[in-house]
Symmetry: C2
Subunit: 243 residues, 2 copies
DNA sequence: AAGTGGTCTAGACCACTAC
DNA sequence: TAGTGGTCTAGACCACTTA
């Protein structure tokens, strides 16, 4: 995994960009890079494409490859690299202490809706996991998740009080890399107000999503109600389609 | 543009998937496709990668290429294809009539923040465009946009009452294909309540974004305050990084 | 005309899965 | 062991930009 040619070059170029090595904001042309790295031009293209998809560089046919000026200026909005699977990860970097309080944990039969979303057969069971997430003792998110027992039979109360994704990745070697997310806003309910410390006039952001494993297996359906001050979802959209 | 090999194959495969031609949910292997389409395997891979990025198929090394079961089941959440540059486009399909009311339109010097975000020199001017967007006479979004006069010198009051992106694409041939979006939620202000018909307790969703042209030129900074019932932002996230 | 990125090919070899 | 997707190469030719 770590020995992929294009990936190493991608990382190296990213470091060189961050180190401000290319003051002209222009990268060497692909044929030069091919020669200096001692790899084929295809591999260079592939590395550059990954960087372009992350919004770090952009390519202009006939002119060259340039560094996105916003990348160095405003690195906070370019957090694609780490993860934007959910808010969870976006807050890890703050140096604050993340906490998880388990509100509810049980096994129930999958509703019809869950059967569809998680691709389950009638009669299959799911964990229902309700958690309150905080940073430095201030709660920011109520998370209601459903995970089929079939895909994660080893879950228990203790494991659910930490990162389920991390536990699952450690235990099985497969990771959660794809998701559909829907983002909406909603007035806060009484429960939101109590758990998140909101005034009645203050809203929550709602993120609903289905998370998938590498191989396409649906892993979790999650509904997250988030203190409006903490919802901050960043995306980089590229409609070029080809990536 | 329309004669690209991988693009044509991509479209053809998408049609065949939608026509339910592959009942086993499994596509032919890449080498067979290569032969039957009469192109190199690289081109097949490229076509398949685009489909995989759209979440339509997924590939499993050693096993084959499969159709994402959710694609056929729940096509509504897969609207990546059309556009998710903003809410604007997501609502076009509803068969409702979109309306734009121009609230304000002037030219002002770019603030420091705008200079940074739009990559302008001090002293440059931008259009400030404030619009209220409705469907069937019910307002759903207040849009405050800033566009450098340098990149769109031909804007006028009339053109701003329609789709600026469409006008610009028609006029110049370059289109807006990339964006950074930040999504948050916010209690509604008095103005929000008046313009969008909200109760004081009802919130707005806020989408802020920078839109870029193909070549990376920043085109617009936009701040959209959206009636919470109409904010519905869908994304497909793929952390595989390589695309 | 020279330079640069884009598309496409033909084929070698590797890594993983299923039988 | 056979089949499948992943990585990588070396090179041809095309399309666009700049001078």
């Amino acid at each position: 995994m770590a020995d992929l040619v294009y990936r190493n070059i991608m990382k190296d170029l990213k470091n060189r960009i961050q180190a401000n090595e290319f003051e002209s904001k222009k990268l060497p042309d692909e044929r030069s890079l091919s020669e200096s790295y001692g790899v084929s031009r295809s591999s260079i293209k592939r590395a550059l494409n990954v960087l372009a998809n992350q919004g770090i560089i952009f390519k202009k046919r006939g002119s060259g490859t340039f560094i996105n000026p916003l990348y160095q200026k405003n690195q906070t909005i370019f957090q694609y690299e780490g993860s934007n699977l959910g808010v969870t990860d976006s807050f890890k970097s703050d140096g604050q202490t993340p906490q998880i309080k388990l509100l509810d944990f049980k096994v129930i039969p999958a509703s019809e809706e869950l059967q569809t979303e998680l691709f389950l057969n009638p009669g299959e069971f799911v964990y229902e996991i309700k958690r309150l997430r905080s940073f430095d003792d201030s709660p920011f998110m109520i998370e209601l998740g459903y995970i089929p027992i079939r895909v994660a039979p080893e879950l228990n109360k203790e494991r659910v009080e930490g990162s389920i994704f991390n536990y699952f990745e450690d235990a099985t070697g497969t990771s959660v890399t794809k998701s559909f997310m829907t983002i909406t806003a909603d007035p806060s309910t009484k429960e939101d107000q109590e758990l998140l410390g909101l005034k009645p006039v203050e809203p929550v952001g709602v993120m609903e999503g289905i998370f998938f494993l590498d191989d396409g297996t649906p892993f979790e359906v999650s509904n997250m109600r988030i203190h409006y001050k903490y919802l901050n979802y960043n995306t980089f959209v590229n409609l070029d389609e080809d990536k």
